[in-house]
C-alpha cells in the first residue's frame, strides 16, 4: 500500500498531472460559478480531451473539476442569490442576506474555507473506510430510499419556520411538478401537454427561473437604489480566524455531508440541507438563520463538499455511481479500460490513490484561488443593481439554453421566474419547490417499487429498520416545530394577558 502510495505521489511531480490538476480546478471554478452549467456538464465536455491522456491524468482533471465546481456554485449564490449548483441554493439562504449587509467578502471566505475543511476531512474518511461504508450503502432498499426522501422533505419544517403552511404549499407544488413527464415505474406519460414535457420539467431551467430570474424581477424593484457599502475584507490571518467560531459546525457538517454522500442518489443538496437544518436546530438563535447567519453558509458549504469524497466511496469500492457526476467519472475510467469496483484496489491501485491525492493537493490550490478570487468577486457587489439585474438575466437565459440546447427550456425558466416572483410576494420562497424537485422522483419511484415488492403491504415501510428510523425522524421533524410554535404562542398570550384591560 505504502509503495503504491509513493508511486502515485510521484506521478503528481509530472507536468501532465500538475497541469491536469490546475486545469480541472480552473474549469470547475468557472463551470460551477455559471448558472446552468453543472459539474456533470463540465465533466462531460472535458471527456473528449481525455482520450489521448493517461487514466491517472484524466481522473485527476475530472475529480478536481468536480470538487471545484461544487465549491464555486456558492459564488453566484452569495452575490446574486443565483445558485451555480443546486446544492448552493441552501448557501444562498444566508449568504445572500450577508451580501445585502455588505458582508459578501466574509460569506465568500467562509464558503471556501468551509468547503476546504469538509473536503479534506471527508477525503481522509474515504481513505480509511471506503470499502466498508460502501457496503452499508448497498443495504438501502426502495422502502429505505422512500423514507429517506420523506425525511429530506420533512426538513422543510425547519427551513420554513414562521410559515410552515407556505413552506408546505411550495413543497407540494414542487412535488406536483415532478409528476409531469414519463412515469418512473410503468413508463406511461403524465400531464404531457406538449411533447417538450415528455422528459418532465427541466430541473436546471426551474432552478434558474425560481432563484435567479425571480431575483432579477425583485432587483428591478430596487434597481434605482445604490448598493450597500462594502465592509472591509480581513487579511489572510483574519480570513482564517473567521472559521474559529464555527469549528463545531465544521465537524458536524463534514460528518453529515460524508454520510449522505455515501448513499447513492442522496446527493449534495440533501447533505447541505441536512447540515443546515441541524445547525439551525442546535443554534441558540435559530431565528437568525435565513437572515444572514454565517453558520448557515459554513454548514451548507462544508456539507456539500464533504459529500464529494463520500459519493466516490460506492464508485471506488463497488463501481456504483451515486450521482450523475460520478457516473461520468466511471465512464471516463471505462474509456481507458479501467473498471471501478471491488477489483480496482488490486488491479489499478494508482487510480484510487491518485483520486485521494488529487483531492488533497487540489484543495489548497482551490483555497488560494478562492481567497484571492473573493477579493475580486466582492467588487461585483459595488456594481449598480440595474447593471447586475441585466447581466444576471442575460447569463441565466444563455446558461439555460446552453444546458438544454432548446428554446423550450428558456420558456420554462421564464415561466418559473414569473411564478417564483409571484409566489415570493405571497411569502412562498423558492427553496421548498427546489427541494421537492430534487426529491420528488426518488420519493415516488421508490414508494411504488417498495409497494410492488411487498405485494401492496404498506407495513414494508415500518419493518425495515432504516426506513422506520427515517420515518420516525421525519414525523418528529415535522411535528416538533408545530408544537414549539404552539407553546411559544401560548406563552406569548399568557404574557400579554395581564396587560389586557
Amino acid at each position: 500500500m505504502s509503495g503504491s502510495f509513493l508511486q502515485a505521489l510521484a506521478l503528481f511531480g509530472s507536468w501532465q498531472v500538475a497541469t491536469a490538476l490546475m486545469a480541472g480546478v480552473l474549469v470547475g471554478y468557472v463551470v460551477g460559478a455559471l448558472p446552468g452549467l453543472s459539474a456533470s456538464m463540465g465533466m462531460a465536455l472535458l471527456i473528449p480531451f481525455t482520450f489521448g491522456l493517461s487514466p491517472v491524468v484524466s481522473i485527476v482533471m475530472l475529480v478536481t473539476l468536480y470538487m471545484a465546481s461544487e465549491y464555486s456554485g456558492a459564488i453566484p449564490a452569495i452575490l446574486c442569490n443565483t445558485p451555480g449548483e443546486p446544492s448552493a441554493a441552501i448557501t444562498a439562504l444566508d449568504g445572500y442576506p450577508m451580501r445585502m449587509r455588505g458582508e459578501a467578502g466574509q460569506a465568500l471566505t467562509l464558503s471556501i474555507l468551509g468547503s476546504a475543511f469538509g473536503s479534506i476531512i471527508s477525503t481522509a474518511m474515504l481513505i480509511v473506510a471506503a470499502q466498508s461504508i460502501a457496503s452499508f450503502a448497498l443495504a438501502f432498499g426502495p422502502a429505505d430510499y422512500f423514507a429517506l426522501a420523506v425525511l429530506g422533505l420533512s426538513l422543510i419544517s425547519c427551513l420554513a419556520s414562521g410559515s410552515l403552511l407556505r413552506g408546505t404549499i411550495g413543497l407540494l407544488f414542487g412535488l406536483l411538478l415532478t409528476t409531469i413527464g414519463i412515469d418512473p415505474v410503468d413508463g406511461s406519460t403524465r400531464y404531457v401537454f406538449t411533447p417538450d414535457l415528455l422528459s418532465g420539467v427541466s430541473f436546471i431551467a426551474a432552478l434558474i427561473g425560481l432563484f435567479a430570474l425571480s431575483e432579477v424581477f425583485e432587483m428591478l424593484e430596487t434597481s434605482n437604489q445604490n448598493p450597500e457599502p462594502l465592509q472591509e475584507m480581513p487579511g489572510l490571518s483574519g480570513q482564517l480566524s473567521l472559521l474559529i467560531p464555527h469549528r463545531w459546525t465544521l465537524i458536524r457538517s463534514t460528518l453529515v455531508g460524508f454520510a449522505i454522500g455515501v448513499v447513492p442518489g442522496a446527493g449534495a443538496t440533501i447533505a447541505s440541507l441536512t447540515a443546515y437544518v441541524l445547525e439551525k436546530r442546535l443554534s441558540k438563535d435559530p431565528d437568525s438563520f435565513g437572515k444572514g447567519n454565517p453558520a448557515g453558509v459554513v454548514a451548507s458549504e462544508t456539507a456539500n463538499n464533504a459529500c464529494i469524497p463520500g459519493a466516490l466511496a460506492p464508485m471506488l469500492a463497488l463501481g456504483i455511481p451515486s450521482k450523475a457526476s460520478v457516473a461520468i467519472l466511471i465512464g471516463a475510467l471505462t474509456i481507458h479500460g479501467v473498471q471501478p469496483g471491488p477489483l480496482l484496489f488490486s488491479k489499478h491501485p494508482e487510480i484510487p490513490l491518485s483520486i485521494y491525492i488529487a483531492l488533497f493537493i487540489g484543495m489548497p490550490f482551490m483555497v488560494m484561488l478562492g481567497l484571492w478570487g473573493a477579493k475580486l468577486w466582492i467588487r461585483l457587489t459595488l456594481i449598480p443593481t440595474s447593471v447586475v439585474a441585466v447581466l444576471v438575466a442575460a447569463i441565466c437565459l444563455l446558461g439555460t439554453y446552453a444546458e438544454a440546447g432548446d428554446i423550450f427550456a428558456v420558456y420554462t425558466a421564464i415561466f418559473f421566474g414569473v411564478v417564483g416572483y409571484l409566489l415570493r410576494k405571497a411569502g412562498i420562497g423558492p427553496t421548498p419547490i427546489v427541494l421537492a424537485l430534487v426529491l420528488g422522483n426518488m420519493m415516488e419511484s421508490n414508494f411504488r417499487r417498495a409497494m410492488l415488492q411487498s405485494g401492496g403491504d404498506p407495513q414494508v415501510f415500518l419493518t425495515s429498520p432504516i426506513s422506520a428510523v427515517c420515518l420516525v425522524l421525519a414525523a418528529l421533524l415535522f411535528v416538533v416545530p408545530i408544537a414549539q410554535d404552539a407553546r411559544r404562542g401560548r406563552k406569548a398570550r399568557a404574557a400579554a394577558a395581564p396587560e389586557t384591560p
Binding site: P97, L176, R424, G427, G456, G489
Partner: protein, 188 residues
Amino acid sequence: MDADPQSRPLDSIRETRRKDMSNPSPAAAENQPRLSIDRLVVRAAVIDLAIGLALVAVAAVFWFAAAEFDEADSTGVGAATFPRGIAVLLAVTAGMLAARATLSLCGRLPSVTSIISRPGHVLAGMGLVILFPVLMSNLGYYIGSALWMPALFVVAGYRKPLGIVIMTAGFLVFAKVGFEMILGVRLP
C-alpha cells in the same frame, strides 16, 4: 401554523408591515390598493387569496387530468396515485391560505400590507424577459440579444449609452468565446 410575516424570505428587499386592524386609523388608506409611479401598496391578503385560489385550480387540473392514466396495478397503486394524493394535499393547504386571506379581508385576522416598488419597471422587465426567446428564435441569439440587452438596461434604470454599448458588446463576445468556441454550444 402560519406565523409572523416578518420571517418570510428576503425581508430586506420586500417591505412588509403588520397593521393591527383594531387600530387602523393612522394609515387606513394604505389598506386600499393604489397604483403610483413608485410603488403599489396592496393588502397581503389579496395576494394570498389570489395565489391560494390559483393553486387550488392547479391542483384541480392535476386531479382531473390524472383520469387519463388512472390504471392501478395489483397493489392498488398506479401512475395516478401519487399525483392525485399530492393534488389533494395542495388543494387543502392552498385552500387554508385562501381561507385565512378571506378572514383577514373580513377583518377577523390582522392585516398586512405588501409594497411592490416600481411596479411599472417590474412589468416592463417581465415583458422583455418573455420577449427574449421570441427574439432569439426569429433574429438569432446575437442580433436578438443586441436589441434586448439595451432595452432591459433602460428598463432597469441604467441610462449611460456608452456603458450600455460596451456591456452589451462585451457580453456577446463572452457568449461567442466562452460558450460557442470553448464549450461548443451552438447558439441560434
